[in-house]
C-alpha cells in the first residue's frame, strides 16, 4: 500500500494545482480497480448502479472481445458524474500516468459541476436513485406476478426511446408516462428509472467534445507544471512515457470519417485560449457553452487551424503519396468541419414531435419526424416502433420523409413517407 500512499500524496498536489488554476470541483474520490472491473464499469455507462438488463451483458461481452483482441484499449480512467465525483483508475497504470489522469479527472469534475448543460443534474442523488430503481426492477423480475419477460420488454422499449426528445427537449418517456393509459403504476416507476438515467447521461453526450477537450487541456497543463518534480522523482523516461500517453489520447484516427473527441477538444480549447487572450475567459466558455456553440464559434479553419491539426496529420498518418493542391486541402478542411459538426450528440439523434390523435374509434400515437435533410433508417425505425408498441398497445403512425435517388434541378426530391404500426404491432411502410 506504499504505492497508494505515494499516489495519494501526488494526487493531493494535483488537487492543489487544480484549485490554484481556478477549477471549481466537488469532493473527488479515486478508486483503483482491476481490468475486469473496468470492463464492467464500461458496460454500465461508467459505473452507475444499474438495473439488470441483457443489453449491459451484451455491452460487457462486446467490450471484452474488443479489448481482448486489441481493437481498442481499456480506458485508463473513467469518471462519472456523481457527488462526490468518482473516478476509476486501472491498477496497472504507471504512477506518472495516474498523476496525469488526476489532472484529467479534476477537470471533468469541474466541468460536471459548472457547465450549463449539467445544471439540472443531481449528481449527489443519482446513485441512490438508480440503486433504488434497480432494486425495484429486481423485485419485479423475481415477482412471478409481474414477470421477468414483462420487465425486459418494458426496458427494451424504454431503451428504444433512450435519447428520444422533441424539439423543446422533452423526453419521450415523460410523454409516455403522462399520456399512455395502459401503463400500471409499477410500469411507470420502472420507466422513470430509465428516464432518470437517460437525462443524467444526456448532458455528457451533449458536451462530449468540450468536456474531453477540457480534461485533456488541463491534464496536459498539470503535467507541464509538475514536469520538474516528476522528472526529479521518477526520471525523464517515466515522464516521457506519460507524454506519450497524452499523445496517444489525442491521436489522429486513421479514418477520415472517425472523430476523436479528445483531439478535437484539446486543439480547439488551445485555439480558444489564444483567441480569447487569457485562461480566465476559458472558464466563461466552459460555463455557458455546449458542443453546439463551442464548435460553432471556435472550430473553424481560421489561420489554417483545421488543416494544421487535422488534415496534415491525417495525410502523414496514412503516409499518403498523393499531392493535394490548395483548393483540395481547403475543401477537405471544410468537409472535416462538417463531419465534426454533424457528430454532435444533438445531431446524432433524430427529433420528433409526439401527439396522440383519434383514429376512428381508437387513439393513435403520432410521431412526426422533424426532418433536417437526413432520412431515417427504416429497419431501425420499424424495430423501435415495435418496441414502443409494447408500452402503447395501440396504433402508431410515424411521419417522415424519403429522398428519391433522382434529382430535379440539381436538388433531391423529398417525398412524404409514413410508417404505420397497427394495433397488433405489425409494421407497414407507405410512401
Amino acid at each position: 500500500m506504499d504505492n497508494l500512499k505515494a499516489l495519494k500524496d501526488w494526487l493531493l498536489k494535483v488537487e492543489e494545482i487544480a484549485k490554484n488554476l481556478g477549477l471549481e470541483f466537488v469532493p473527488q474520490e479515486f478508486v483503483i480497480c482491476n481490468n475486469e472491473q473496468m470492463v464492467e464499469r464500461q458496460a454500465h455507462h461508467g459505473g452507475y448502479n444499474l438495473y439488470p438488463h441483457w443489453s449491459f451483458g451484451k455491452a460487457k461481452f462486446i467490450t471484452r472481445i474488443l479489448y481482448d483482441h486489441r481493437f481498442s484499449f481499456l480506458p485508463n480512467e473513467i469518471v462519472i458524474n456523481t457527488n462526490p465525483c468518482t473516478a476509476f483508475m486501472l491498477e496497472t497504470n504507471p504512477i506518472v500516468d495516474n498523476i496525469m489522469i488526476g489532472g484529467h479527472v479534476y477537470a471533468h469534475n469541474d466541468f460536471f459541476n459548472r457547465n450549463v448543460a449539467f445544471r439540472l443534474n443531481r449528481p449527489e442523488l443519482i446513485q441512490t436513485k438508480l440503486k433504488r430503481g434497480s432494486q425495484l426492477i429486481q423485485r419485479c423480475v423475481e415477482n412471478p406476478k409481474f414477470g421477468s419477460s414483462r420487465v425486459e420488454k418494458l426496458i427494451d422499449a424504454a431503451h428504444g426511446a433512450f435519447f428520444l426528445f422533441d424539439e423543446h427537449g422533452n423526453h419521450f418517456i415523460d410523454f409516455a408516462i403522462r399520456n399512455f393509459r395502459n401503463l400500471s403504476a409499477i410500469d411507470q416507476e420502472i420507466l422513470e428509472v430509465i428516464k432518470a438515467l437517460a437525462i443524467h447521461l444526456w448532458p455528457i453526450a451533449e458536451t462530449k467534445i468540450m468536456n474531453e477537450g477540457w480534461a485533456s487541456y488541463w491534464h496536459f497543463r498539470t503535467l507541464r507544471l509538475l514536469s520538474d518534480k516528476l522528472i526529479e522523482t521518477f526520471g525523464a523516461d517515466a515522464y516521457h512515457e506519460a507524454i506519450k500517453m497524452h499523445l496517444r489520447v489525442i491521436k489522429m484516427p486513421r479514418s477520415f470519417l472517425d472523430i476523436n473527441p479528445y483531439r478535437i477538444g484539446f486543439y480547439t480549447w488551445n485555439k480558444a485560449r489564444k483567441e480569447l487572450g487569457s485562461e480566465k475567459e476559458l472558464f466563461r466558455v466552459r460555463k455557458n457553452y455546449t458542443d453546439e456553440e463551442f464548435l460553432e464559434e471556435f472550430f473553424n479553419n481560421k489561420d489554417g487551424f483545421i488543416h494544421e491539426n487535422f488534415i496534415k496529420p491525417f495525410i502523414v498518418e496514412n503516409a499518403s503519396k498523393r499531392i493535394f493542391v490548395e483548393s483540395q486541402l481547403r475543401q477537405m478542411a471544410d468537409q472535416y468541419r462538417d463531419n465534426v459538426l454533424k457528430a454532435r450528440a444533438d445531431k446524432l439523434y433524430p427529433k420528433f414531435d409526439f401527439a396522440i390523435e383519434p383514429l376512428g374509434l381508437v387513439q393513435c400515437l403520432v410521431l412526426r419526424h422533424i426532418f433536417d435533410g437526413r432520412v431515417l433508417d427504416s429497419e431501425m425505425a420499424q424495430g423501435t416502433m415495435k418496441l414502443i408498441h409494447y408500452i402503447w398497445k395501440g396504433p402508431i403512425r410515424l411521419e417522415t420523409k424519403s429522398i428519391s435517388k433522382r434529382r430535379q434541378h440539381g436538388k433531391y426530391i423529398t417525398k412524404d413517407k409514413i410508417i404505420v404500426c397497427n394495433q397488433l404491432g405489425d409494421v407497414e411502410e407507405r410512401e
Partner: protein, 379 residues
C-alpha cells in the same frame, strides 16, 4: 480527496446474470439458424472440443437513427486510443471480434458441443440423449474364478470332489465308500461386465435420394445421435462405416456421404450386400455388435425388391439393430409397396422401419430405436 483500492473485490454478479441473459438470447437466434449451421459441420467422429466459428449479427438495440450512409457522413466518435490494428491479428482463441468497433456482425467461436446441444434441443431429444448418460446395457459375462471349499451344492464340481476323495484315501491309506464334507469342491464364478464391448455402425445411404437443407440436417442429426447413443451406453470401441450406393456401393467419408448425388437407378440390395460383405471381412458378429442405418428415398429398381428383402433378412440375422429409414418417400416406396419388408419387420424385432420427414420423426425414431436396442442388449 479519497483514494481506495478495490481491485481485489469480486466482479459484479448482477452483470454476470446480464451476460447469461444475453447469451441465452444469442442462443435463441442460433436456434433459428441451427439447421443451416449443422449442415455445414462435420459431426462424426464425435469431437466436442472442436471449435466452430459462427458469424453472429449482434443483437440489435433498436432506436430511431439516420440511414447508415448518412450517419457515416456525420462521423463516428472514437476515443483516442482506438486500438492497434497491427496487433489484433495476433490475438487467438476464445471469441474473436472480426469487424471491430461499431460493426453489426462479429465472428464468435463456439465449441461444437454447444451447437450440438442447441441442435438436440431443437429436435427435442436433449432429454432423451442426456438420460443415456452413465447407463450400460449389457448382458454380464460369467467368469470362472476357480474352485473353492464352500459353496452351493448346485455348483458342485464333481471331478475336483472325486480327486479330493482319492487324495484323502491315499493319504489315509483307507478306502472309503462315502464322500465326506471335506471332499466337496465347488465351482466359483462371478458376473463381470464385458471389458471389450465393441460396436460397429453402418450408415448406408442411397445416393439418388434428394435432400433439401432441412432433410440434410435431420439425417445428419440422426446419424450423430446414433453414434452418440453407442458411445454413451458403454461401448468401449465404436467403428463407423459410411456407405454410399446407387447401383453399386462404395465406402466413403462423412463429407461424401452427405454430399454425393447421382441420377442413376438404385439398387437397395447393393447397399445391404456391401454391409454383409464388410461384416464378413472385418466384423464378426460374435465380437461386434452390429448396427445399421439405411436411408433411401424408397425408389428402387423393381427387379431388385426381392433381392433387397433377401439381403435384409440375412442382415437381420447378424445385426443387433437395423433402421431402414425413408426420407422424402414417394407413394411407390419400398415401405409402401413391398409387403415383404413389413413381414420381415414382424419376424425380426431388430428391424425398425421408419420415415423421416420432419423434426418429430427424429425423436420418434430415436426413441423407438433406443428402446428396442436396450431391450435386446439387456437380453
Amino acid at each position: 480527496m479519497e483514494i481506495r483500492n478495490e481491485s481485489k473485490r469480486d466482479s459484479n454478479p448482477q452483470l454476470d446474470i446480464d451476460v447469461q441473459r444475453h447469451k441465452a438470447k444469442i442462443r435463441e437466434e442460433l436456434k433459428k439458424r441451427i439447421s443451416a449451421l449443422i449442415s455445414d459441420q462435420s459431426l462424426i467422429p464425435i469431437d466436442n472440443s472442436k471449435m466452430v466459428t459462427v458469424r453472429i449479427r449482434s443483437l440489435k438495440e433498436f432506436r430511431f437513427a439516420f440511414q447508415s450512409d448518412e450517419e457515416k457522413k456525420g462521423g463516428r466518435l472514437v476515443p483516442g486510443e482506438s486500438g492497434d490494428k497491427k496487433k489484433r491479428a495476433s490475438a487467438a482463441g476464445g471469441t474473436v471480434g472480426r469487424l471491430g468497433p461499431g460493426s453489426k456482425e462479429y465472428d464468435a467461436n463456439f465449441r461444437l458441443d454447444e451447437l450440438i446441444e442447441i441442435m438436440l434441443d431443437d429436435l427435442d431429444v436433449l432429454e432423451l440423449m442426456k438420460n443415456l448418460e452413465g447407463t450400460r446395457y449389457f448382458k454380464n459375462k460369467i467368469e470362472l474364478m476357480g474352485i473353492r471349499k464352500s459353496g452351493s451344492f448346485s455348483r458342485l464340481n464333481k471331478k475336483a470332489t472325486v480327486k479330493r476323495k482319492i487324495a484323502r484315501e491315499r493319504a489315509t491309506k483307507q478306502l472309503s465308500k462315502k464322500f465326506i464334507p471335506a471332499d466337496y469342491r465347488y465351482r466359483h464364478s462371478r458376473e463381470m461386465p464385458d471389458a471389450d464391448e465393441r460396436a460397429v455402425i453402418f450408415l448406408v445411404k442411397d445416393k439418388s435420394g434428394s435432400m433439401d437443407k432441412n432433410k440434410h440436417y435431420l439425417a445428419k442429426a440422426l446419424c450423430y445421435c446414433f453414434v452418440l447413443y453407442l458411445q454413451k451406453t458403454g461401448y468401449e470401441h465404436v467403428d463407423i462405416c459410411f456407405i454410399n450406393h446407387d447401383e453399386s456401393a462404395t465406402e466413403c467419408s462423412e463429407e461424401d456421404f452427405f454430399a454425393m448425388k447421382s441420377d442413376g437407378g438404385t439398387k437397395l440390395s447393393s447397399g445391404t450386400n456391401k454391409v454383409l460383405e464388410i461384416i464378413n471381412e472385418k466384423y464378426s458378429p460374435k465380437e461386434w455388435d452390429i448396427y445399421v442405418w439405411h436411408a433411401s428415398d424408397g425408389e428402387n429398381t423393381a427387379q431388385d425388391n426381392g433381392d433387397f428383402v433377401d439381403a435384409m433378412e440375412n442382415l437381420c440375422k447378424l445385426a443387433h439393430m437395423i433402421n431402414y429409414c425413408e426420407i422424402n418417400a414417394t407413394t411407390g416406396s419400398v415401405l409402401g409397396s413391398i409387403g415383404n419388408m413389413r413381414d420381415l419387420a414382424r419376424r425380426f424385432s431388430n428391424l425398425l422401419l421408419s420415415k423421416l420427414d420432419d423434426k418429430n420423426d427424429v425423436k420418434e425414431i430415436l426413441r423407438e430405436f433406443i428402446a428396442k436396442s436396450n431391450e435386446r442388449r439387456r437380453g
